[in-house]
Chain length 319, copies 2
């Protein structure tokens, strides 16, 4: 990728124009970039009425949006932003080849771990960047997004087997252009460490919020679940350590403290469960378990929680 | 204890005249034994109207019952049957001394492990027998019990640190007199083995039925929870093994098979939870965890489940 100094010199494709993809895509377009949005159910609405983002960064209404209902109709773009829920990742094999420039960049905005290598198989020559969004944003209706708080994206370059790549030129370019579009970024040298660090929070709080029908505040209010969350975090840290990534007890203690100070919060998995949407069990639970197992490590509590979630999902299906 | 050949030669006290104590006490009285019932909320009803047991063994209505509302009013008895829920065990220190004959027998009809040693401290000279009831029996109202199925009591003698005592004369006597009163019994040589064996079922199914709001049939219907139950059973077997008690994979497989064949079943802990009664977490979860820990053994899944249950109980209290 060339090294442009502002967002308008790159073209962007957004796959998955929801709470995350819609927000960031709209910010890029507002900054003058050429952005192409792939949509599914919301295609007609967005094509006709544009994209509305009510945001703590300032409200946006993009009247004219490059909207598409199939990947073949889209032009190849410099940066392909995948902002689908990971439960849709089985579609990537079909969606990505027509859109992503072979020599371009693919930015994966998803939680969990392990998906970058699947994408690398689909697009062997494409540079892959992992992005972790710390954002509170919801889809309110077709083409209508509400961005409530935060918004920073951690950006790390993917290399084979998640070898740390350092701050690559592409990371610098993406980070600069995003920041110029008003999107805060945090470039990191080691994507895998960032992914494990986020899993340290996502595994206990996404999982327990569904298993125990609880907000983060309820989970932090009781000593039993505070301890349980800490045990789960320590297990995730063990898995990270098996890949020589150090997550210290201090990191865990700080994360628990910060969670206790948060407002009562429904995790994304809880919202998915309550709205009868598929849960991101593969990326957030199964892949970390597989990574651990590949190093001969059992994560009994993480697996326990995953099995409970799987039960809840399967029972609902069988109802 | 002398060695009588029929139940009428012994006197019995029943502490806790509910679904279990009421059923077995009524059977003993029907067989001609002198039985004294300690009651709390149901005292007036039972004193005035007697005890009704609708039972698969035949319906009973005992018009005249020796009913008491405080232990000091009761005569010392040869056999004191403790059939309280283990959540009431903090009352034993107050209840037992006036009732139990120092040289008599105490029969503890409870699930879990560890309570016999607490009772032995209260009654240092009393012979203690542990009883495990395989019975489906519910309290329908004051002085009214409904016995739906099963009913056998496993009887094992308690010795210091749960050393196996073999089939003692007292076990033989109790077993014979109970059988003559129509109560099936199974004498065992090793009480601790019997307690671990029952915990192998109680820990997964009592725990998961509450944590996942599920019947045994629902838990057995999904591969995830079948595996999860098996993992929990294997953990309990590990704890038993630390005390040189062997619980084989075959035993676990058979227990799972039998559970799959049962009718959809609400466990006692689920019924307690649904009726807002205290859960038997100490005897069924905390004591086994403490026993394991005393041997340097961690039971991560069992502890996880206990912490989830504790959360559910504490959140409800705080509501």
């Amino acid at each position: 990728m060339s090294n442009p100094s502002n967002p308008t010199q790159l073209t962007y494709a957004v796959i998955g124009t929801g709470a995350v993809g819609g927000l960031y895509g709209a910010k890029l377009q507002q900054a003058g970039a050429e952005v192409h949005f792939l949509l599914h159910r919301d295609y007609e609405t967005v094509k006709n009425e544009g994209l509305r983002v009510d945001s703590v960064w300032g409200n946006l209404h993009l009247q004219a949006v490059n909207a598409y209902d199939r990947p073949e109709a889209m032009p190849p773009c410099d940066v392909t932003i995948v902002a689908l829920k990971s439960t849709q990742n089985h579609c990537l094999r079909h969606l990505l080849p027509p859109i992503a420039k072979p020599q371009g960049v693919l930015l994966l905005l998803q939680n969990g771990i392990g998906t970058e290598s699947e994408i690398q198989e689909i697009l062997p020559k494409t540079e892959i960047i992992g992005g972790l969004c710390f954002v509170c944003s919801n889809k309110m209706g077709p083409g209508h997004i509400r961005h409530l708080d935060y918004g920073q994206i951690t950006l790390g370059a993917y290399g084979p087997h998640y070898q740390a790549q350092g701050i690559t030129p592409t990371i610098e370019t993406l980070s600069n252009t995003f920041q110029q579009a008003g999107i805060p970024t945090q470039p990191v040298e080691d994507l895998m460490l960032a992914r494990w660090q986020k899993l340290v929070w996502n595994i206990p709080f996404n999982g327990l919020s569904v298993a125990l029908n609880a907000t983060t505040a309820e989970l932090m209010a009781q000593p039993s679940t505070r301890e349980l969350a800490r045990y789960l975090m320590e297990e995730v840290a063990q898995a990270a350590a098996a890949y020589d990534r150090d997550i210290s007890p201090n990191f865990i203690a700080t994360m628990l403290d910060n969670t206790a100070k948060m407002k009562p919060y429904h995790t994304s998995m809880k919202l998915d469960y309550d709205h009868d949407r598929p849960l991101e069990l593969q990326a957030i639970f199964q892949n970390p378990l597989d990574f651990a197992q590949a190093k001969g490590l059992d994560l009994p509590r993480t697996r326990f929680l995953q099995q409970q979630l799987q039960f809840l999902v399967d029972r609902r299906k069988s109802e």
